[in-house]
């Protein structure tokens, strides 16, 4: 059930240059693959192109099947996708918003099985007290957590999440990533995330894919990718990288941007 991308290319309408030139990589089963790269490098575009939201060139293989041969329903049974865009505010209850994740099985009268599953996930995210609260009455972080619950409630075999931890504080960020990790390991899913926080990416990823100029610049285990040289090249920032003796993961300390600007007002 792995996820494989071959020679993906996408150009925005009316743009001269493609934002994604030629991207190929694989997200193996039971692993968290995290795509990193500077702003505007095309992380979200890559995900949207993979899922057919943007019409791109190249091939995407999901669970051994070409995406082009899959129906809309088949794709959504297989893939749990969480967008980076914020969900619009509605007066639907938190439970109903989570239930929307199981849209394919919902009837006007919701079955107990669907409700139980939604409540289980909400409990895992410590959101059980918010079940009946209207979605608009939540904080930005809580909304993001509800979106995570909505994505996991459908029991996807391939999990694709665009910035799942945006707006979250440290404890919620770690809780969400721990949950994703547990889900990935226990279900053996191919999980693909994009993250901005490089330390969190290094901490939770099994594999990192570093994008630069529309191609895969580096790909491998966090220890191989999070190096001062790679970060300088891809982000234009001078960093100090220290490897944690406790976890063995690289930790990054930003020093200064390469391009120094005189900010005199």
């Amino acid at each position: 059930m792995s996820l494989r991308i071959e020679h993906l290319k996408y150009t925005y309408p009316k743009a001269k240059e493609p934002v994604i030139r030629d991207i190929s990589f694989e997200a193996p089963d039971g692993c968290i693959t995290v795509v990193i790269g500077a702003n505007g490098v095309g992380k979200s575009t890559l995900i949207k192109s993979m899922l057919g939201i943007f019409r791109s060139e190249g091939e995407v293989w999901l669970d051994g099947k070409n995406r082009r041969d899959m129906s809309h329903a088949e794709l959504h049974r297989l893939v749990g996708y969480m967008t980076q865009e914020n969900t619009l505010l509605t007066s639907l209850s938190v439970l109903n918003v989570v239930l929307l994740g199981r849209l394919g099985t919902l009837n006007i009268r919701v079955q107990d099985e669907d409700i139980d599953r939604a409540l289980d996930i909400l409990k895992l995210l410590h959101l059980e007290t918010l079940v009946d609260r209207p979605f608009y009455a939540l904080s930005g972080g809580q909304r993001r957590m509800v979106d995570v619950a909505q994505t996991l409630v459908r029991d996807p075999r391939i999990l694709i999440m665009d910035e799942p931890t945006a707006n979250l504080d440290l404890v919620n960020e770690m809780q969400v990533l721990e949950l994703i990790k547990a889900y990935t390991k226990q279900r053996g899913t191919s999980t693909l995330l994009t993250l901005h926080d490089l330390n969190m990416a290094a901490r939770y990823a099994d594999r990192l894919v570093l994008l630069k100029d529309g191609v895969v610049f580096r790909e491998g285990a966090p220890g191989e990718i999070i190096t001062a040289d790679n970060i300088r090249e891809a982000y234009g920032v001078e960093v100090h990288v220290h490897t944690s003796s406790r976890t063995g993961t690289p930790m990054l300390l930003p020093l200064h941007p390469l391009q120094q600007t005189d900010y005199t007002f």
Binding site: L88, L89, S91, N96, L100, L103
Partner: protein
């Protein structure tokens, strides 16, 4: 419940000053021939029309608001009503077409003409307008903002064409055309009620069955797509259905404004946005508003009914404002 009670109240109010006992007798077909005819041939079709059209216009408004993610959206957003008015004006002014009438106004003008001609023209033009806008929007991605703007643009073309047509109309033709524009439930017959009922029931069924899909659409296009909703397709089909419901009601009854805006908003404010609740609740509140408005319009008109469209606005707007400015429910 309120709909049933109001339906009876509505049956008993009218310009012929029948007592309640007489009404019941006539309902059981036991009264005088004239009273039986008033109840069975005039009041019942009218009450049915209020229930059906009220429900239809209200659910159309609700679905358009969800589809376009715009609280201002209503059955007139796509210029459906403007197109219907133009069609009717064309029929009445240019071809002296007849229209279904209670007999209160200018009946001589319509004698001899096919009473369905004007409804047919109104329906044809609204359908053309809907297809034109939806077709244009389908060429590009089905962006809600584009649909609203296209609706306003096309709607203003129909209004301009109507103005030009009315400029060249005769006095009698002009008054007949203007009278058609006033919504009048008295034009309903069993046949028109049946046609409206089929359309409205089809819409009600579809919108109810797709409740969760519409709930998903509330979260925005990107989120709805991620949940597996075929957003463009759902939007196209439901906009078409909502517009056809409006076109059918407006073609038979004339313009009945504001029901499609007031009722869905009041329902959403009071009961929330879950379409499993708001679709049936909007339908019922639409029926209640139109029944109330019709009852008032007939009891206030001193013999002839006042335009029901004006009454819906007069009745609904203050309530609507009260709901908007109340603190209950902060989101549409």
């Amino acid at each position: 419940m309120a709909v049933i009670v109001l339906a009876f109240v509505c049956l008993f109010v009218g310009s012929s000053h029948m007592s309640i006992a007489e009404c019941f007798a006539a309902l059981a077909k036991k009264g005088s021939a004239a009273q039986v005819r008033i109840i069975w041939n005039i009041r019942i079709p009218r009450v049915l029309a209020a229930i059906i059209a009220g429900a239809g216009l209200s659910i159309s408004g609700l679905i358009m608001q969800t589809d376009l993610n715009n609280p201002m959206a209503s059955p007139s957003t796509l210029g459906v009503s403007n197109a219907a008015v133009f069609g009717a004006n064309l029929s009445i002014i240019a071809f002296a077409g007849g229209f279904l009438d209670t007999g209160n106004h200018l009946s001589s003008y319509t004698v001899g003409a096919n009473p369905y001609a004007t409804s047919l023209m109104a329906f044809l033009f609204s359908t053309v307008s809907i297809l034109l806008i939806l077709g244009l929007c389908r060429l590009r991605a089905f962006q809600p903002g584009v649909v609203v703007l296209a609706g306003i643009a096309i709607g203003s073309v129909w209004t301009a064409a109507t103005t030009i047509l009315q400029f060249y109309a005769t006095d009698v033709g002009l008054s007949a055309a203007v009278i058609w524009t006033f919504g009048d439930l008295g034009r309903a017959t069993y046949r028109t009620d049946c046609i409206m009922a089929v359309t409205v029931l089809a819409g009600l069924l579809f919108f109810t069955l797709m409740s969760w899909q519409f709930n998903a659409l509330l979260s925005g296009d990107a989120a709805a797509k991620s949940m597996g909703v075929a957003v463009d397709k759902l939007r196209f089909v439901s906009m078409l259905l909502a517009s056809v419901i409006t076109a059918v009601c407006v073609s038979f009854l004339g313009i009945i404004g504001f029901v499609g805006i007031i009722c869905p908003h009041v329902t959403k404010r009071l009961l929330g946005q879950d379409h499993r609740v708001s679709v049936p609740a909007s339908a019922l509140s639409g029926s209640v508003l139109l029944l109330l408005a019709d009852t008032l319009s007939r009891s206030m008109g001193n013999g002839s009914a006042l335009p029901v469209g004006a009454i819906t606005s007069l009745l609904g707007a203050p309530f609507f404002l009260a709901i908007i400015f109340s603190r209950k429910g902060e989101h549409d």
